[in-house]
Amino acid sequence: MPWQIVIGLETHAQLSTRSKMFSGSSTAFGAEPNRQASAVDIALPGVLPVANRGAVERAIRFGLAVGGSIRRRSVFARKNYFYPDLPKGYQISQYELPIIEGGALLIPAADGERSIPLTRAHLEEDAGKSLHEDFQGATGIDLNRAGTPLLEIVTEPALTSAEEAVSYARALHALLRWIDVCDGNMQEGSFRCDANVSVRRNASDPLGTRCEIKNLNSFRFLEQAIRHEARRQIELIEDGGRVRQETRLYDPDRDETRPMRSKEDAHDYRYFPDPDLLPLEVTPDWVESVRAQMPELPAAMRSRLAGELGLAAYDAAILTGSRELARYFEAIASRLPGNAKLAANWVMGEILGRLNREGLEIGACPVDAARLAGLLARVADGTVSGKTAKEVLDALWSGTETADEVIQARGLTQISDSGELEVIIDGILAQNPAQVAEFRGGKQKVFGFFVGAAMKATRGKGNPAQVNALLRRKLGADA
């Protein structure tokens, strides 16, 4: 009997502010340890937190993007526990009253799209880092990360497979980058997931006991960890055991999860409203001013690309994979009225293919939208064939010229002058009377011979459509 897997994800997205959640220190990654830790970050006696307006604004932006409700009044609370990389002895987070409640994220599914309901999203600060290596017998503490602003985004237990969880995480990752809320850099820890996993025999059964797998910082680990954990739970139950509610860690080297702490020794965090911070007031005016600056969201752009430009849903989804890619595509399409499909095919095929081979992001594409559009314009107007255009693209990729400059310099202009082509074709037919006779005798295959000969005579520059048309006319093939 198949088991149902139920997954809820908690994602910590580092907000792309220049300064920290409650202090003016820089959030830049990679500084010398403790160089970006101010008096507030190291919790000297007497210091006080001040909430970062930019972080709040990013939370509002996210709330608007997922259609959540933005609380007019949310409350920062203290989560109390002792750990050396937690300087104050508490983390400032939001507990009972988070800034964002509800909302949903659309993710691609086999039959179109699925909407994943969100529980909440709240603001909090990150802890520092404990470094257990390099300090024989001791632990180093780096507080550069302490106080970094995070948005914790929590789904309902609504995901039903590891693949779906990854699909959600990818869509969330793309959306956060799209709305400039998070840089999404997973190596630097800007986007990390905790997965709550449980299993049950039937979808109608109550939810099973869940385990939380902490700190999954790649899509691959997320998928493997969930898959492994679900299998572990199923095997445990089928062997007559019971799942214990606990926090587990995923070890990618061994592809297994192992317990970190169980519910019994869970912390009592003694949450209470932080008396150093007033309740966070978000006025409707503030929300409206943020809304006014929101970019078109990927879902809206997808339907516009499909509707107005006639792209296939699949193509529209790929082209809106990131805001940079979408911008790139739109910049090209707007220069090629009526040729959106041509632009889409080239961006998805040639451009993404080349970027992928070279391990580049669209932002680092050596051929900008204007240059690619210049090339595609020559494809659209028949100046160059598709095949020649790829050769031109090679030149654009490694150089700085425009497509027209390359075409001109290399003499790649397609011969579309029917008079010139006619002279050439007449010559070919005159030189190959045997083949002409064969063709006229019904041997259709010989047509290809004439096309090849014509292209050879034009050194590939003959407009293939015109060459074809002329040959058919001269050979009477249309008749």
Partner: protein
């Protein structure tokens, strides 16, 4: 003022006039007070840290400033700061072994304001450990003695500041008041102290005890002096999210206004059982004086006052248990030697670094915030806190100011209450509700009770009504001379 008066006998306003007239230099003044401290502090223990070189350097800078004609009313005035304010380069202990060796790398906003005004930093005053106490006996640096009677406590937690002003070691000092810690020691040492409306004075750099209650304020010899100090201390601070953004006020603007028709509310509960007869008598006499100045008195009721001590001893320890979590031995401050492991480092650092009263409050606070107890204690206390504030709202609908005793008794003897925390907590029965409501409160001298120990009259104002409170106090001080009485110099 008599030309023969010694400098230490003069109050802030008088000294300010002398400095402005260049009849005395700030350096001379600082030297005179440092000399007096040198002879008296061994006995009183009012100061924890002195740095004569730094003090005199600042005094010379103040003299230069006055010389350039750029001096203000506080330029050159020596001010002592409670050792709860961080001050760059000054050891800042908060009365605790935990911070015995801690030197602050930055200035509290309050200290910054005094520095900007050209005031001279005279030293750091003794206090109950982390401001937790009403007798100054919980200090790691030993108790402060009351200048009026060396066997008596000076009150707390700003006991060092109060004793220093009362003993004429300085004309003014800063304090902080979480449940009465400015007003009660001011009362017990016969001086003036004011706790402003919550949010008026920045808490940045002031070591936190209970964030939602802590408020800094001045201690000095007269209401006029308090007004000058308040002008300097108050101000919006973007580094403190609970700081209020308001138009600048001049707190001395109404000092001389006649009191005719001012309605004074006398809370029934403040004059009931528990109030010592000697204190009651002095307060009653003060009220007679005030009626003579044209005030009317009306009875008001603050029925939830009786709950203010239990509410306070849930909320303040709850906040403290979290505020004091940072003292873990990891980054600064006291650290236990040779810990076995992390848990041992934490528990021994905190057991050895904190005194008994601080540990007691951390335990209570941790308990009331714990899972399963939060609703019954913390949440319930917050609800009652709102009821207490509502009592004051209702009372202020029938009166302009509320008056009563500051403390139910005069200063008690050293050691008398230290074995019984609940008895100790009751010293703050009339002051705590003011903090819970966030209102301004003040204590001014109103005579003497048993054993010749001072009695304080408490004045409670509505939010932001400090100028009216100072007006009443100033008029009262024009009609009386309690605030001019000085204890006999010891030593």
């Amino acid at each position: 003022m008599s030309p023969r008066a010694e400098l230490h006998e003069l109050d802030l306003t008088e000294l300010s006039a002398l400095l402005a007239a260049r009849q005395v230099s700030s350096e001379e003044l600082a030297q005179a007070l440092l000399a007096r401290i040198a002879t008296q502090n061994g006995d009183l223990n009012a100061f924890i840290t002195l740095d004569p070189d730094a003090t005199l350097a600042q005094a010379r800078a103040a003299d230069a400033r006055i010389g350039r004609g750029e001096g203000g009313v506080l330029t050159g005035i020596p001010v002592a700061h409670k050792d709860i304010f961080c001050a760059s380069g000054w050891r800042t202990t908060c009365g605790s072994r935990m911070l015995e060796e801690f030197t602050a790398p930055y200035d509290a906003t309050v200290v910054e304001h005094f520095n900007d005004a050209g005031a001279v930093f005279l030293g750091k005053t003794n206090m109950d450990e982390f401001a937790m106490g009403s007798s100054n006996e919980s200090s790691w640096f030993g108790p402060v003695r009351n200048p009026w009677d060396r066997n008596a406590v000076p009150g707390g937690s700003s006991g060092g500041s109060a004793a220093a002003v009362a003993a004429r070691l300085c004309p003014a000092a800063t304090g902080t008041d979480t449940g009465g810690s400015i007003r009660q020691p001011a009362a017990l040492t016969g001086i003036c102290g004011l706790k402003p409306t919550y949010g008026l004075v920045s808490r940045y750099g002031m070591i936190a005890f209970a964030s939602s209650l802590d408020q800094a304020g001045p201690l000095a010899r007269s209401a006029a002096d308090l007004a000058v100090l308040l002008d300097t201390m108050v101000g919006f601070d973007p580094r403190d999210s609970t700081s209020l953004e308001r138009p600048v006020e001049h707190y001395g603007r109404a000092l001389d206004r006649p009191l005719e028709g001012m309605r004074l509310g006398l809370p029934r509960e403040y004059f009931a059982e528990g109030l010592d007869a000697d204190v009651a008598r002095a307060v009653d006499e003060a009220l007679v004086t005030l009626r003579g100045l044209g005030c009317e008195t009306v009875e008001v009721s603050l029925p939830n006052t009786r709950l203010s001590i239990p509410v306070y001893y849930v909320l303040a320890p709850a906040e403290a248990s979290s505020n004091l979590a940072r003292y873990d031995g990891a980054r600064y401050g006291y650290r236990a030697q040779e810990p076995r492991d992390l848990a041992d480092l934490y528990s021994r650092t905190r057991a050895e670094g904190f005194g008994a009263e601080v540990r007691r409050r951390i335990l209570v606070g941790t308990y009331v915030l714990s899972h399963g107890y939060y609703d019954a204690y913390y949440l319930k206390a917050q609800q009652i806190r709102r009821l207490i504030a509502r009592d004051f709202d209702a009372a202020f609908s029938t009166c302009d100011l509320i008056l009563g005793p500051t403390s139910p008794s005069v200063a008690f003897d050293l050691g008398e209450r230290s074995a019984d925390p609940v008895q100790m907590y009751l010293s703050d029965i009339y002051t705590i509700a003011v903090n819970l409501a966030g209102l301004p409160g003040m204590s001014i001298p109103a005579g003497f009770g048993a054993k010749g120990r001072p009695v304080g009259l408490q004045v409670i104002g509505n939010y932001f009504d400090e100028a009216r409170m100072l007006n009443l106090a100033h008029r009262f001080q024009q009609a009386t001379d309690w605030h001019r009485r000085a204890p006999a110099s010891g030593a």
